[in-house]
Symmetry: C2
Subunit: 647 residues, 2 copies
Amino acid sequence: MTPTQRAVGPVHPAAGHTARRPATAGQITGGLWGERRRINREISIPSGWDRLHEAGNFHNLELAAGRTSGEYVNDLPFLDSDVYKWLEAVAWVFSDAALDQSLSDRLQDQLAATERLLRDAQQPDGYLNSYFQVLFPGERFAQLQWGHELYCAGHLIQAAVALHRTTGDTGLLEVACRTADCVVAAVGVQPGQIDGVCGHPEIESAMVELYRETGDERYLNQASYFIDRRGHGLLGDGHFGRHYWQDHLPLRDVPSAEGHAVRQLYLLAGAADLYVETGDDTLLVALKRIWAEMVATKTYLTGGIGAHHKDESFGDPYELPNERSYCETCAAISSIMFSWRMLMITGETKYADLVERTLYNGFLAGVSLDGQRYIYANPLQVREGHVDRGVDGDYQRVSWFRCACCPPNVMRTLASLEHYVLLGSPTRAVLHQYIPGRYAAQLADREVVLEVATDYPWDGTVTVVIASAPHRPWELALRVPDWAERPTLTVNGRKVGSSPADGWWVMEREWHHGDEVVLVLPLQPRYTAADSRLDAARGAVAIEYGPLVYCLEAVDNPDHRLDDIMIDTTVTPEVVPGEGILAGVATIRTAGHVRPRPNSSWWPYSPASAGTSETGEPATLNAVPYYTWGNREHGAMRVWVPTNHII
Amino acid sequence: MTPTQRAVGPVHPAAGHTARRPATAGQITGGLWGERRRINREISIPSGWDRLHEAGNFHNLELAAGRTSGEYVNDLPFLDSDVYKWLEAVAWVFSDAALDQSLSDRLQDQLAATERLLRDAQQPDGYLNSYFQVLFPGERFAQLQWGHELYCAGHLIQAAVALHRTTGDTGLLEVACRTADCVVAAVGVQPGQIDGVCGHPEIESAMVELYRETGDERYLNQASYFIDRRGHGLLGDGHFGRHYWQDHLPLRDVPSAEGHAVRQLYLLAGAADLYVETGDDTLLVALKRIWAEMVATKTYLTGGIGAHHKDESFGDPYELPNERSYCETCAAISSIMFSWRMLMITGETKYADLVERTLYNGFLAGVSLDGQRYIYANPLQVREGHVDRGVDGDYQRVSWFRCACCPPNVMRTLASLEHYVLLGSPTRAVLHQYIPGRYAAQLADREVVLEVATDYPWDGTVTVVIASAPHRPWELALRVPDWAERPTLTVNGRKVGSSPADGWWVMEREWHHGDEVVLVLPLQPRYTAADSRLDAARGAVAIEYGPLVYCLEAVDNPDHRLDDIMIDTTVTPEVVPGEGILAGVATIRTAGHVRPRPNSSWWPYSPASAGTSETGEPATLNAVPYYTWGNREHGAMRVWVPTNHII
């Protein structure tokens, strides 16, 4: 085992067909994300242990370990993975300087107990899966469509890699390697092997990461095999078609994102990892194409992904209904994973822009402000008079789910967030997210350390102080987000004359300790419109403010039905600084009018020429950040609000 | 048994708390509907016999009759009802003067064979249901949520009533009365009875109709019981909630249409029948309210009903996505049933307007032009790149369904269409649909016979000749459809000075044989817009022409992707008379432009001010009647097309 010394966060290229690599260290010290991480660390992750026990996940592993008796709890085959994602979250938390000793001790105990449990449950040849061991003993890799065996193995591997990177703990890594070895032995094209892929991609990234962590090329080859063998019908048609489990076409031939959104995005993230290690351009061409098509035609304003509930899938191009958006929290997470890898590979800001948008909106909405309740699907609209039909969810936050993939996925993402801020290349430190903290990146010969101070996203001023740097010229690159207009930059108080290019503001010089760079991204609320092909948002605008998408909630607009409101885009929206609601977020006030109701006609359709200008009572509209919706009373909500400029 | 002598079509009030009654006789002699009915009679209904045999429906009844052995085919509990709806269609066909002798003989034989089969299958106390007799012998009315026993009984009753009205055949009516008696004995609030309602309403109308046909008040009381007992939780919560099976609130308290669309509408039709016989105003108030809310907020432009696939239900108010509209063909049929009853009760044209709209669009799209293929869900849009996800249907016409409720429902509706044209009150003949034919209505003392000649909907001229009339003044009322502008009317060549009021053009005089009334409804294609609360249609227009909704299909617009097209509403659309495609329908040509694709930006959202005017290559657009869509190549389709007047 030859662990890479520099690896602390997720995704650490070994060979590395990319100039950019993740930061070598990071600490988030405050701000919006600092507070969310504190709640994640102090409330969500500790309660995760309790929820996973209550929900039977640990019990099932104890059954597999022969430590207890009874029935297998819950009938889903991927319950082990929730434990593994929680373990991964714990692993990342160990690198958080803010972790206090008593919690650290408690988590260490829980970790050790879990490690022992997994060791006891693991079979001599490395096989480890409570569902199959308890319910289908001896049956292995025979239900690849729905069994999630490789998916679970992948999450185990990722947890073990994370723990090894943050603590050097080799115990869990040994368990994971034995499981990986069992997979390598059993699945492949050699005689006696099962030629197959998992119905739910995930193991692809995990195998690449395990290769990175151990240097064992068998794991890289296995990842390559898993990606190459998709799209050959190995999984059959299934209830939802081959798209669903990403087996409809070989990845290199796929025109656009399709099928189950999380499966698609985990697969793409894994393929990006594989590209980084192999430099196979045929993969990269496909990844760029799929990302571009997905973002242009199948992504919500919030960065949310997935338009269909029943099969948790992408819809047709431009099919993005707001009240039935699926936008699973896990899809937002896997989108961040994929885009972040593409940023690393290409250095293009659009990937970082989507990471930012998804983090602040589609992802962050997935957990309540108190860190105790989660939401699975993240709609962009809940209508007045919404009825829970027992089908599309009632869009209320709950403390846990029967299928609880999202909560521990949120935990591991928040706990590793410091790694999604800075990249290093031999000549450049690339700061692409603006989160207060201290971050280190490896340049060609030595490390650069940056201290970032900002109240972003509430304030657009970002101060970067060089805390440590090599004594020769290098480039500091700061991202200018897609939404920012007229940004300014000063270095040690002096305005920089050049302009950003391709979304990056790059300054090359010999930096010294204490040099201070101040980027100002002027923040003003803005109205955003959609491509008119997006039927559900046509004739409407959304309010945005920096990276944040805002929404109207009924609770803040109690005098009108939300569905009757039209926004007046000639009115300049005003920011109302934190008023105490929703953990002190800035709210936005603007104006519009309320259409009369009921209509004068019995029929809601009329000659086009007659509908020119609908008017009504003037109204003040109050908007809150989308990520805070549904934290108070249950009621209507809208991101897209019709305007007064309708034909 | 005291059959009402005047009854020939569906719904013949007995006591009758309504001034208007259906026509006493009718023959459709040509035109669009004449041809559709010919195909229904000559192709669809005869092939229905074959399909019902192939699908096992007859086999299952033979199992119940002890005539054969083997497995029950298909696991749906309502398969008998498909046979009954087919029987009802056959019954109505017997009153069609165009039925030729050899087909009549064949249908008589099939009818007689089916009657014998049902008689053999029926148990001594009248119970008749193949599913329960074969699979759950002795278990009766114990699975009211999903069992559809009362639903099936209702369709048996309706078939028998239809047959008795058209042929005087009492054999099937005896079977139906025995079944009805079994229900009356078993279900109710007396000791020993089961207090319950059916998960799928349908028996309510049937029981009222059986009362009308037999004069037996027990059936009317049973209908009243079924309607009163809803909304008391007798069915429990179920998978889709109490709304689904119309058990969430007592009908009189329901604010708006909710739950499974067909269940809701059959229930409302039954309640309207009950109102007609009882004059219970508390019912009428609810029916008017529910209709108004449903039409204003939950009805598609095509008259289609139901926005959710999974539970086949209404959506939230204004939730009418075009690509995921459910709009089941059966929901269109049941909407026509409900609205037609409301027209009879109130005499208000809006009910007839919705009947017309639904007939020509949402309903007629449900069967292919060749009468051999059906569609279950009728979307208003199929996107470019649509993928069949095995979930929402792939929107292709097929020859039969596993759950084949729609095909025989289409058959019985087309076969009885002549009854949906004319109403009679003591003082007035009310012609509310314009279909060429000869129709008779009963006024106070004697019959009025009208001969209608028209090429409607291709031509807006309707000629009505008085073929028989009493020798004293009476009113002829002609509906002026909601869409018609500047209609004109002549009587015997002389222009009538008065104007239509409330949608009716009423002429009172002593009419004579041969008097000729000519109504001209100027027909011009028009652009229609939606209430801007209907998000999915905002910023878009539809093309309409008379009662017809048009759509763009990819096959007629091969040079552009449909999703890229914007319509230019300053261009006047032109009618292109029948060109031979689609059985000679008029097509409509207009113009617009094609937005460039892909977008210049990677992100499909942009500042609202920047999106003012999208332009692109000019394009000619070719539209066809919505009811003809999907009869040629499979491809994209749109009813709502974005306009060039986007913010």
